[in-house]
Symmetry: C2
Subunit: 220 residues, 2 copies
Amino acid sequence: MDGYLYWRPASRLTVLAHLFGIIAIVLLLVWLLHFREGMNLDSDNPFRIFNVHPFLMFFGFIFLAGEAMMAYKTVLAARNVQKVAHMFLHLVAITLGIVGLHAVFKFHDRANIRNLYSLHSWIGIGTFSLYILQWLFGFITFMIPQSSIDGRARAVPWHISGGRALLYMAICAAETGLMEKVTFLELQHGRETLLVNFLGLAILLFGITVDVSVALARYR
Amino acid sequence: MDGYLYWRPASRLTVLAHLFGIIAIVLLLVWLLHFREGMNLDSDNPFRIFNVHPFLMFFGFIFLAGEAMMAYKTVLAARNVQKVAHMFLHLVAITLGIVGLHAVFKFHDRANIRNLYSLHSWIGIGTFSLYILQWLFGFITFMIPQSSIDGRARAVPWHISGGRALLYMAICAAETGLMEKVTFLELQHGRETLLVNFLGLAILLFGITVDVSVALARYR
C-alpha cells in the first residue's frame, strides 16, 4: 500500500464530513446561481463578482483545508504521502482563498464600498493571515529535513491546536459572512432564507465533523 | 491540597483566556449600557429587554461554560472537586442561558418579531439544546457511581470532542448574533462598530484560548 491512498472503512465521521461538505457546496451553488446573480470574476455586474467570494471561500478555502486535515489523520498511506497531501491541499486552499479575497475587494472597488469595516471581514482576514503563517511554520518545521526531531515533537501539539482553532475561526468567518449578507438583503422569510440557514448549518456541521473525526482518529 | 483549588503557574494560556473573557464582558457592558439602551428584563422599552440577551448569553452561558472546561483541566485539585466544579459551573451556565433565551423571546413578543427565523437563532438554539443533552449525558456517565468504568473510558473522547464542538458552536452563535445586530442597526463606521468588532474578536479569542489551554493541558 506504499504511496497508495485508500479509505479506512471505520471512519464513518469522515464520510459524514464529506457528506456535509458536499451538501454545503450544492446549497451554495443553488443559492448563488439560482437565487442570486451567478458568478463571474470579470462581469460588469458587481454582484456577480461578489458571488465568487462566498463560493471560493467555502469550496476553495474551508472545504480543501478540511480535506487536508482529514488526509493527514484519517487516510491510510505512507507517512510521507500523508504529509505531502496535507501540505499540498493546504497550499491549494491558500491559492483559491486568495482569488476569493480578490473577488470581494474587486466588488467593493466597483460598488464603492469601504474595505474591512465589518466583524466578518476582521475575523476573515485575521483567519486567513494566521492560516498562511501556520502553513509557513508547518512547512519549515515538518517538511525541511534539517529541523530537529525534538523541535518537531514540541511543535506538534501547537500545530494541531492551532490548526483546529483556525478551522473553527474559518467557520465563524463563513457564518458571519452569511449572516451579514442575509441581514443586508433583509431576507426574513421565504425559501432563500431557509436555503441560506441550511447552508450555514451544513458548513458548521462540516467543521464539527472534520474536527471530531480528526480528534477521534488520534485516540485510536 | 485536598479539596483546595489553586492555579498552576505555568498555565499562561488560562490567564490569557481569563483576560480575553474579562475584556469581552467589559466591552459588552460598555456597548449595552453606554451605546445602547441599558438592560432590564421588566422594562417598557423592548430594546432594554433585548439587551439582557447578549449579556447573559456571553457572561452567563459562554464565559461560565469556558470556566467549567478550564476548571476541570487546568486547576489542580482533588479529582472529585474538579468534577463537581466542572458539572456545577455548567449547570449555572445552563440556568443563566435559559434566562438569556427568555429575554430574546420576550423582546420578540413585545416588538412583534417572529422567533427563530435567522441563521443566528438556528445555530444558537441548536447549540443550547445539544449543550443540555451533553450535560445530561455527562452527568449520567460520569457522576452516577453505578456506571461502568469501561463505559466511562469509551465516553471520554466523545465527551471531550463534543464539548469542544459545543464551545465553538456557541462562539459561532455569538459572532452571528453580533453580526446580525450590527448589520440590522446599519452601523458601518464610527466608535460603536469598532467596539462591537473588538467585542467579537475578544469573544473569539476567549473561545480559542479556552480550547487550546485545555487541549495543551492534556499533552502534559
